[in-house]
Amino acid sequence: MSLRNPAALWLLLLVLVPLLLSRSKPRVRHVVSNVYLWREAVRRAGGRVAPRRVRLTWLVLVQMTCLGAMVFSLAGPVVSLEGGLTVFVFDVSASMAARDGGATRLDAARARARSIVRALPRFARVRLILATASPRQAGQWAASDPLLLAAIDALAPTAGTADVTGAMELAVGSGDVDNIIVFGDTDVAIVESGRDSPAVQIVRVGSVAENAAVTRVAVRERELGGRAGQALVTLRNYGSTLRAADVEVSVDGRIVHRQHVQLLPAVSQTLNVELPDVGHFVTARLVGNDALSLDDLRSVGVPLANAIRVALLGPRGSFLERALEVNPSVSLRTYGPDGTLQEIASTEDFDVVVCDRCRDSDAEIPSLVITRGGGEPIHDVLRVVSTDHPLADALESGKQIATAGSSTATADRADVVLRVGSAPAVTASERDGQRRVDIHLDLTEPDFVVSAAFPLLVANAVGWLAAQYTMPSEVIAGEPLAFRLATTAANMVRVLGPDGSSRDVRRTGGLFIVADTEAAGQYRIHVDGSERLVAVNPNVEAESNLSAAQGASFNRTGNATVSVRAPISVARWLVLLSVGLLAMEWRIRLHGA
């Protein structure tokens, strides 16, 4: 319940009037010839004047209640039994961790939220929505519930960005919302449209601040199988003044390089750091004090340099076998053409199976399948029709002649990468998470297969097929960490976050997804006893520039002030009550209590 005119409550003092009047009225009045003798008698008796005692009779009680009801009605009490629903959208992006004075932007937002909660009606409901990269609800409480303030206090900034618009849309779509209050450092442009939209209030926190960040860390090995490598560290000063800082590069937690740098304002600077051993996890840290410390650290997981395990089913001594053998990243095992893909896949783990005119081409692992195609052979120029496809990498169109079947059928939703004339020569497809490359060329013809483009095509195909099992080396916070595994069961996969707690892993076919990547740091993926390291880094592109606010837009109508839904005025009922009490009082007076 709230009051529209709280000052009227001072009139409640009038409630005491009937009581005081009843005090001043004695029970019995006697008319006497004089009172001065009685005054003297009272004085003689030691001032035993009748005490002004309170005589709270039914009549007085009714009168007081009547007055109280009238005065309270003047105060304009309104109740909102449903309490109205106010949604607090909290921007918990990385920039909210920026220090602004003695506290962070999120601290300022919390303080503003607390004051608004205190001003809300007691029965108002408050729903908390976190504007992260993937907005989500944190819960709903009554405004008077201390758990609400506890939930607000427990908010912590993530390393990712904030989809404020998505969060507001989630707020609107989550129920019958009266007010949306957005706390954050994002400028939200409210676009007027539609009707019956909730009122939106933007509580903007934070001011311009100097900040620098590590924007990129990349590691590459100098040679296949070796441990020496090079780290590429990119720094950027988002501020407006020159910044001097130290950069530390550590491998697997051990500092291997330290360098002093001068960062010019609004300029990126890249460092090349030689690493004798790239290890498994490389981290670059910007040492110094700026507004946002979250983006001063960035890491990358070093991918395993293991060879691609390839099984070849087909005749020995072919150009295809030779093209695979010359690929240094391939570990090849050959089988006769009579074997089936299923049999090979069940005997040993392979990353890619190459089937050269073998009987069975359907396998649950990535496969490169060679067929001659149907129809009359066509000798024509080999043309690249999908230049952006990885299979076409480094291939030149129209330089080689190849032989393909004139009526070759392609699989559904397969991408044609190369054509011979009008016939599809090379197609790539991905179905149910399973990649497959079909080469519809006659590899016995000494045209395309003897050119340098053939081993390139085979290498591209094997690399593309094997890439689906490559573990990502880094992920931006808030974005899902996704990876494919060949045959591993979901319960054998375990992902630990930087805080050591296990993350929920969802599996779709061979695709594994970890959605909770809001905390930056090292994520450990345990698969069948082996461990892979993936770095989750802050979203520097969206969050590190503290000199300019990010923008968002949201469509709404209505005013921008917090209101309570459909407040019910109690005043009229109080007036009715007071009139009823007045009638009762009259009746008591006329007929006696």
Partner: protein, 292 residues
């Protein structure tokens, strides 16, 4: 005002002498202390210049050669002033004090007229409201009766001031019978002193009601002054009522002491007093002589 039986009781009464000097300038049934012009010889004395030559005793002059004058006893009248308090406080009691006071005034008037005394009536509250100068005769008595039958208790009391005002217009000798409850916080005795100073002899008749003598209310009460509407709240219990009685006794005692000190008649009557008791009280106070 008076029944036949009451009148019969009054027929045998006259005002006592007390220390009241009868008025010699009026011819009445009472023997004056001064010489006068009645036919009753009193004494002989040497002639003094200015004496009526008709009073010279010529036989003494012829025999002794001295001028001797005859003196005669004067026939004086008692002037009775009946002052009746008609303030609102006189309405108290059962019967009310005013009616009892009026009865007393009537009997005083009757006794006075019957004894050929001069009697007057004055009603007063805060001021003198009605005044009949002392006179003799039945017409005066009827005027007094008529006035008494119409009195109404109203107004505030100012007994002392009223007595002083009356002193300004009347002088002695004479008997001033003041009938009142004497509930006046101001100084009442000052009025009596003024009357005495003017040669008048006050007679005090304090008339109270039974309720005033013995309050019947108890508990948490609010007392309202009938004249001023002032209020007093108190718990009427044995202690407070005892204190009231003590105050009332002091009030009565002060009047009695004044009257005793000045040899003045003093009566204390209640409004419920019977006629016979009233007469007995008057007689015992020295107002009347004779047997009712």
């Amino acid at each position: 005002m008076l029944s036949a039986d009451e009148v019969r009781q009054l027929d045998r009464l006259t005002f006592g002498n007390g220390n009241v000097s009868p008025e010699s300038t009026l011819s009445g049934a009472r023997i004056a202390r001064v010489r006068g012009f009645s036919n009753e010889f009193q004494d002989l004395r040497p002639y003094q210049a200015g004496d009526d030559p008709r009073s010279i005793e010529w036989t003494v002059y012829g025999r002794l050669g001295q001028l001797v004058t005859r003196t005669y006893r004067s026939n004086a009248q008692l002037k009775v002033h009946v002052l009746l308090d008609i303030s609102a406080s006189m309405s108290g009691g059962v019967p009310d004090k005013l009616s009892t006071g009026a009865k007393l005034a009537a009997l005083l008037g009757y006794v006075a007229i019957r004894a050929r005394e001069a009697v007057g009536l004055v009603t007063f509250n805060a001021a003198i409201t009605q005044r009949f100068a002392p006179a003799t005769g039945r017409r005066q008595l009827f005027r007094i009766f008529a006035a008494l039958s119409k009195v109404v208790a109203e107004g505030r009391s100012a007994i002392g001031a009223s007595l002083m005002n009356y002193s300004a217009v009347e002088k002695g000798p004479g008997l001033v019978v003041v009938i009142s409850d004497f509930f006046d916080a101001n100084d009442v005795l000052q009025g009596f002193h003024t009357l005495q100073h003017r040669g008048l002899t006050p007679a005090v008749v304090q008339l109270l009601s039974a309720d005033e003598l013995d309050p019947s209310f108890v508990g948490d009460v609010e007392l309202v002054d009938i004249e001023t509407s002032d209020t007093v709240r108190l718990i009427a219990d044995a202690e407070s009522i005892s204190a009231y009685r003590a105050g009332l006794d002091e009030n009565r005692a002060s009047l009695r002491e004044f009257c005793d000190a000045n040899a003045l008649p003093f009566l204390q009557l209640t409004s419920s007093e019977s006629f016979a008791d009233m007469l007995r009280a008057c007689a015992s106070a020295g107002l009347f002589v004779g047997q009712p």
